[in-house]
């Protein structure tokens, strides 16, 4: 069991980003616009946190054009999924669930 919370995930916006992506199947990518709505963050704030999570290797970001418009999508990496699960286990251990 993790003794300390993962500092990369232990931040409200990043935690919501990870939670939103965790709810999707492995291969599924979530569009930046939808992520923004789910997380309730501003575009700049979300972009900065996504960049941090990508640098940490927790999420993968794909950029392309869809209907002639730039599109940014993200998904959890295997490492990200595992880190998120560890973080949830850590939280549960605090409230005595595990």
């Amino acid at each position: 069991m993790t003794e300390q919370p993962d500092p990369m995930i232990h931040q409200p916006v990043r935690l919501k980003i990870m939670s939103a992506l965790k709810a999707l199947p492995d291969k599924e990518l979530l569009e930046f616009v939808r992520l923004k709505s789910l997380v309730g963050a501003t575009e700049g704030n979300l972009g900065a946190h996504i960049s941090s999570l990508e640098t940490a290797g927790y999420i993968e970001v794909a950029k392309d054009f869809h209907h002639n418009r730039p599109r940014t999508r993200a998904k959890l990496t295997r490492a990200g999924r595992r880190a998120f699960e560890d973080y949830v286990t850590f939280l549960r251990s605090i409230i005595g669930e595990t």
């Binding site: 409200p12 939670s19 939103a20 992506l21 999707l24 291969k27 789910l38 605090i94 005595g96």
Partner: protein, 183 residues
């Protein structure tokens, strides 16, 4: 860095809430194209049979187009993810088709208006149950609205029931699909 049990509980609630919203949004987005596709088929089918009852065979090619379109959508969605959601969704439509045909065989003969009401009523129940049993809650009001509007049209506008169904059945599914897509 330490967390109190209250903070941990709050974080777990945040996680659960966000996961539910994300899963519901995904469910709605995947369901949307099916509703739009079948909404168009219904609008054309009901409108054509309302204006020219002798060409009710129009339904056969429309159903075939809808079925092929659904298969293509299911394949595309299955490829985009690891889960078989698309195929399950399509398979459930096949079960409904079997159920409706069995029901007509058992209950028949039924009038054209009765048959035209039966299918949207069954689809309405199906959507409402999806809304209740999955995270795609928007399917519940859609299903209930479909049942209510079909029943209202059947009893209040028997002479123009097929036009009514073209509008509220077909049009309703299209609008419902657009509403799901915006989730």
């Amino acid at each position: 860095m330490s967390l109190s049990p209250a903070e941990a509980q709050s974080a777990l609630k945040d996680i659960e809430r966000t996961e539910q919203r994300s899963a519901a949004s995904q469910h709605h987005r995947h369901s949307a194209p099916y509703l739009i596709l079948w909404g168009v088929m219904w609008a054309i089918g009901y409108a054509v049979t309302a204006s020219a009852p002798t060409i009710s065979w129009t339904w056969a090619p429309l159903i075939a187009i809808g079925a092929i379109g659904s298969i293509l959508l299911a394949r595309r969605q299955s490829r985009a993810q690891n889960e078989g959601f698309g195929w399950r969704y399509f398979a459930s439509f096949a079960v409904i088709a079997i159920f409706i045909n069995a029901l007509i065989a058992v209950m028949g003969p039924i009038t054209y208006n009765q048959m035209s009401a039966l299918i949207p009523l069954v689809i309405g129940v199906y959507y409402a149950l999806i809304g209740l049993s999955t995270r795609g809650w928007r399917m519940l009001p859609l299903g209930l609205a479909l049942i209510a509007l079909t029943t209202i049209g059947y009893f209040m506008l028997p002479e123009h029931f097929l036009y009514w169904m073209a509008g509220v059945g077909g049009g309703g599914l299209i609008l419902g699909g657009l509403w799901l897509r915006s989730a």
